[in-house]
């Protein structure tokens, strides 16, 4: 009985050690997931957000991106827009807050692939967004490229992924542009 107790104690201590290790030294995948969750939180806003909070969260959102970030958004029927650099991100975030009363953004089914040099990564996931009280849910597959810059994982490129492609059609249709 004493031996069993000792084995259980050692196993519990080992599990605690592993848990503490992962908490203190999280894997790059975990760090990137946490940062993506933070980006989704910063991109979302409630109707009752104050002016100062609005500015702060827009600037905070931009801090998750590299200075030379390139964002290509192409959601059929919704948005076709390119954003370059942090300043434009801040402006777009503020513009979104002035045009819509609320926005809820979630990043779902995140798959993170770390490059062999462990300095860059690709995150594939599904964005689920709801603008104000719009009945339609925006669902879009997206790909983020990230790089470790000054010890921080920053988003360097954002692109929408066409789960359903109609390439021949896309080449011939007239571009439709909806505001940011």
């Amino acid at each position: 009985m004493k031996t069993v107790f000792r084995i259980l104690l050692v196993a519990a201590l080992a599990a605690l050690g592993v848990w503490l290790w992962t908490m203190i030294f999280p894997s790059p995948q975990k760090i990137i997931r946490q940062r993506l969750e933070a980006v989704a939180r910063r991109a979302s806003f409630a109707p009752d957000e104050g002016t100062l909070a609005r500015m702060a969260s827009a600037q905070s959102l931009a801090s998750y991106f590299s200075t030379n970030v390139e964002i290509n958004l192409d959601v059929p029927g919704r948005i076709q827009h390119t954003i370059m650099g942090r300043d434009e991100i801040t402006q777009a975030a503020l513009a979104a807050r002035s045009t819509a009363s609320s926005l809820s953004v979630k990043f779902l089914d995140v798959a993170v692939t770390i490059a062999a040099n462990r300095q860059s990564a690709i995150a594939d996931f599904t964005v689920e967004a709801r603008i104000s009280d719009d009945q339609d849910l925006i669902v879009q597959e997206m790909k983020f490229s990230l790089q470790k810059i000054s010890g921080q994982w920053l988003i360097t490129r954002v692109e929408t992924v066409r789960t359903l492609s109609i390439l021949d059609f896309e080449r011939t249709r007239t571009p439709f542009i909806v505001g940011a």
Binding site: L137, T163, L164, L167, F169
Partner: protein
């Protein structure tokens, strides 16, 4: 007599906890626990591995599926055969490495691998032949140049084509993105 004491009615205050215990835990707690475990395991297997419960959001599958309706996607539907024309399928948006996708498109297959799909004034042509679509109640005027499907590609579209084509999510999808067939 001691026997009379044993058969005498138990006061109601003592009877209540016993009755509650039987209802909540059962006469044999071990058996109840085993039943509970079997139930949880069955639910997990059925609703995670076989029938994925989904709630329809949006109007792209009207009138077949309305906004807010509940359905199931059968993951085992295509174990014995490949998806067929007319099947309504769940399509993952995420990487195929994600085993249980949180979000899926619900679309109808109109084109099979190797087909050439064309929309001419709203009519779907498969390899030049008009496709009979009894499920499509809202006609459209879409025009789409011929799209040739590869050996692992299917062409999917929603039943509601009343909106302009630019506002509708449809097109070619790889086989590994098809999660299963809609049950209801």
């Amino acid at each position: 007599m001691p026997a009379q004491n044993q058969t005498s009615p138990i006061p109601s205050s003592d009877q209540s906890p016993g009755w509650v215990r039987v209802v909540v835990i059962g006469r044999n707690w071990k058996l109840t626990l085993a039943r509970l475990l079997v139930l949880v395991l069955t639910c997990f297997v059925v609703f995670r591995l076989v029938l994925l419960p989904v709630r329809v959001e949006g109007i792209s599958m009207l009138p077949t599926y309305s906004n807010g309706s509940v359905n199931f996607v059968n993951r085992l539907a295509y174990l014995r055969h490949e998806p067929r024309r007319g099947d309504v399928v769940g399509i993952r948006l995420s990487d195929p490495s994600i085993r249980w996708p949180s979000v899926m498109y619900l679309k109808r297959i109109i084109g099979l691998p190797g087909d050439t799909v064309t929309f001419t004034n709203g009519t779907v042509l498969i390899n030049g032949q008009a496709l009979d679509e009894p499920y499509e109640k809202y006609s459209c005027d879409w025009d789409l140049p011929p799209v040739k499907l590869g050996p692992t590609e299917f062409f999917v579209v929603g039943d509601n084509r009343s909106m302009p084509a630019e506002f509708h999510v449809f097109g070619k999808v790889e086989r590994d993105h098809i999660v299963g067939k809609a049950v209801l």
